[in-house]
Point group: C2
Chain length 572, copies 2
């Protein structure tokens, strides 16, 4: 930020609540009068160096207990800024301790940081002098008590589950990975492009898309309107017709009787009014209940976008329009699948990261994907180690080692053909798979995990897949059998990334569209990118929730997104 | 990044295409063999210091011309990394110049950077020694020729418009503002939370939401199925019933005839098969064309989420669940309105930034919003000045001054009551507004712009609005007439931000919901945040496209989002 232009707002805001005269080391939140607990307990000295400081903190009581026969209370307070709590001690003289000690109570307190007695776990504690606010909790009714709760149970209390250690830690890890994503691509000169959520390109030709429409609500609105104000009957229409006829006769009569100009124009006005009324009545009589239809199908010409619209399944095709203009781009946004999958690995709404690079081939694509995954792993080790330690303690003892391994190990790169040979060799040596291993068939999850977890014990990039199992836009290799596709397989989750070099040759891509039985017309805009100034380019997609599963070791994808959507459920 | 753990992938990737022995100053793209043009022409010396360097660049020809009777060609090449082009000179001996010179042609070339003759505009130019790739363009068919095109025209060629200077510059500005947004909130300790896109909370109680459904596609699937495989007729059902009766009689007959066990069980099996067939036939006969209905309304129990679902209009209510657990959070995602607005200020799909801060009041909210807007303005001045200069030249001469003014000027803060008094005073002095000025009525856009553009000539924060014109969740002030709401008004666009302190008191918010005639049940989860550990908190929303309009001076919101969606249009 320029020195001479920016006003020192953030610096001013960072002043402490101590008066300016007293020296202070701990900074208050820029837009709140509290000090984030992280800035006390996450210091290398655990906060000990801040003893004697006066601070104001706010947070929620994790556990509380009265001691000394009700003379004082110990509260473990957490404000979400880090996994650690601050120990807060309140005297009975300062506040009614009974309302403070329940799990889930919100407190805002001011006091002085003190060194605790020797032999206690904490390095610092807060002696409260003033309780500024209490948001009480009825322990009988609070749905998220102190006892250990399953992640499954928490899914039924989605609005309160961020108050638990696990979901809060996942939120911090998710936040870190999102910012790592932006930082990585920005550092490397990529532009963030917002691809559309609502799309009219049904590009996978699949029925698994959600439809976006106003047709149903329009028909419900109409139904309500017609209920309150019934449509005209045949008799109403006849009456309106009669009125037109009569008013017309009056006009004719007055004209032939050479009536005054005023009289004639008044009668003409009445006649016109009757005609307008008739057309209104006739229009209303045509209104029909139910979805607007044409030729027995929903009439999308009447839908909001004047055609059928869907929620996007990928921003790739659209972001290619920017790659073929400004070279290095990425998307990071929500994508959707209307699949009735009830597994722990599928969501109806999930986030994807999709970079796209011009003047780059499959090798560049692999280099970019490998560097990006390593960058995210290192970022978590650098910035979220305390949260990762919580994950290691509660869910997956190996998760930190896994991050270290991935951040520091070259990814293995093998062709699909080599991968199949290795798997066939394993089968010959006695390994049993549920799914068949054979050149030309897609690798199953068990195969992918065997390659990365058992054979190589590190991330594996498999490239050059048979064209029959891959999308039309992937570049045909010179062998005419395989395409320049690549998948990155990692321990714990299997496929983390799928990408390819895109077919930039107009003739080839047209032929592939034809071979796959797809219509050409919806892709004309996509073909234009090849018709005019075509360029070698490539890209990949990373399922963001998969990355969080990989990092944390959490098993169910519904627990790593704040508001999971799946068949039958879309709470809030 | 930790030194000992991260492999130097990014450093390796940053090597130049020169051999390691030769010293070099210009870095190639990390995941492409080209050098971004920005790293040549955007140096303070305009690239002059790189003379003698061998580089490979790629990009699209903006303008090209043959010279010296076809002996060589001048190409202005742009790769999207910056608004400036690189001048590229190709000899007729090196390539067929005829295919290179057309606007929109893609080229990848290698050569040596040279100082141009004195008196030319460029500080550096590239003498090509090898043309590596040409993506040709037929100038007769290319829809985006060199001539000046209107933004309106470009909206009909949405897949090619990023190749224009204006749309590419807007993409870089939009990218910069998005990363500035993340940087600002991350620097200040906020967690990025992904609020849901599909929601079942119809929280504004409004009909202007898009519906997300699989009901229509399910009914269309069924229709297709019934067309291919017509439903059973009455006769089919009777036949199936008859078969059951007959098979039953056979069983009875065999039993009474004491037939062998094998014979009896074979007949029972046939009988059961007939019964199964009957129930299948009866089931199919009940299938009805059209939307699944119950009691004359769409049967949402059969929809994907087992209830009616919509596209979100705001993530605020949902993100409050995280603010009331981890304190400082923000969302940045797409939001939707199914309004039939054909104005230059409305989109059906647009992006919003919505921070939410616990332990903070309206003043903190204003401080945060002001600091955020200033930060974005300064970011553009620091990182996008070349693109801003293009905007100033082509669209709004004052846009850079406006950024400087906003970044450096304290925002005026006045109450709604004061604002109304000022406007009434202006009316008394002869100012005419189309809309009435009166305490209790919302300010119209003309009033907002008069306050910020004419009276104060700087951004204005108006706070404490009458409760009757604001949402139920805004905190009631002690006067019982106003709520702790605030809007930020800026020159050029009027309202840029709307925010409020949230009502954290259970009794008050319940009463407000009742007063506004809203049902309480859908808000029970929201009320739980007040029931259990309630906390003072506040937040605001910034319309991201409005911010881009404000920054660039572009008039139509459809030009500042890559893929605009509005009534009747959702291209790609």
């Amino acid at each position: 930020m320029g020195d001479n232009i920016t006003p020192p707002v953030s610096k001013l805001a960072a002043a402490t609540i101590n008066d300016a005269a007293s020296s202070s080391l701990v900074l208050k939140h820029p837009f709140s009068d509290r000090v984030p607990i992280q800035s006390i307990v996450s210091r290398p000295d655990g906060g000990a160096g801040l003893a004697g400081q006066r601070v104001r903190v706010g947070g929620w009581v994790k556990t509380g207990r009265e001691q000394g026969k009700g003379a004082f209370a110990f509260l473990e307070v957490n404000d979400g800024s880090c996994p650690a709590n601050l120990q807060v001690i309140v005297d009975a003289a300062v506040a009614d301790l009974g309302t403070l000690v329940y799990t889930g109570t919100c407190v805002s307190v001011e006091g002085v940081l003190k060194l605790p007695p020797d032999g206690t776990k904490q390095k610092i504690e807060l002696r409260v002098e003033q309780v500024l606010h209490v948001g009480p909790t009825d322990p009988v009714k609070y749905p998220i008590p102190k006892t250990k709760l399953t992640l499954e149970f928490l899914r039924d209390h989605i609005h309160l589950r961020p108050r638990t250690n696990t979901i809060a830690a996942i939120a911090r890890i998710r936040n870190a990975l999102a910012f790592a994503t932006h930082s990585f691509f920005q550092e490397h000169g990529f532009l963030y492009i917002h691809t559309p959520i609502i799309t009219t390109s049904d590009c996978e030709g699949a029925g698994e898309m959600f439809q976006v429409t106003t047709l149903i609500s329009e028909s419900e609105k109409l139904e309500k309107e017609l209920r309150e104000n019934p449509p005209p009957s045949e008799a109403d229409i006849e009456a309106a017709k009669l009125a037109v006829k009569e008013k017309g006769e009056v006009v004719a009569l007055l004209k032939s009787a050479k009536a005054s100009k005023e009289e004639v124009s008044a009668s003409v006005a009445e006649y016109n009014k009757a005609k307008e009324n008739l057309s209104r009545v006739e229009e209303r009589s045509k209104l029909k209940l139910g979805l607007a239809q044409k030729d027995g199908k929903a009439d999308y010409a009447l839908d909001f976008f004047a055609r059928q619209a869907f929620l996007t399944v990928s921003g790739q095709l659209q972001v290619e329009t920017y790659a073929c203009a400004v070279s290095s781009v990425y998307t990071f946004g929500p994508t959707f699948r209307a699949e009735h999958s009830h597994t722990s690995r599928h969501l109806a709404e999930f986030w994807m990261v999709e970079p796209e690079i011009a003047f780059a081939d499959l090798k560049d694509d692999m280099n970019c994907a490998e560097a990006y995954v390593k960058y995210m792993c290192q970022w978590l080790l650098d910035k979220c180690l305390d949260d990762m330690e919580l994950m290691a303690k509660l869910y997956d003892r190996s998760c930190i080692d896994r991050l270290r391994m991935v951040a520091s190990t070259l990814f293995e790169r093998i062709s699909y053909t080599e991968a199949v040979q290795l798997l066939e060799e394993a089968v010959r040596k006695g390994k049993r798979f549920e799914n068949k291993v054979e050149w030309g068939i897609d690798l199953a999850s068990e195969h992918e995990r065997y390659l990365t977890e058992d054979i190589f014990k590190r991330p594996v990039i498999v490239y050059n897949y048979p064209k029959g199992i891959k999308a039309f836009y992937m570049r045909l290799n010179d062998d005419s059998k395989t395409v320049a596709a690549m998948d990155i397989l990692v321990p714990k989750v299997g496929e983390l990334i799928g990408g390819s070099q895109r077919e930039e040759r107009l003739d080839f891509i047209k032929q592939r569209i034809g071979e796959m039985g797809l219509p050409i017309e919806p892709y004309e805009w996509y073909l234009d990118l090849r018709r005019f100034g075509t360029v070698k380019h490539c890209g990949f997609g990373l399922g963001f929730e998969r990355m969080i599963l990989f990092a944390t070791g959490i098993d169910n994808i519904r627990d790593v997104i704040p508001f999971p959507r799946y068949p039958g459920r879309a709470d809030l």
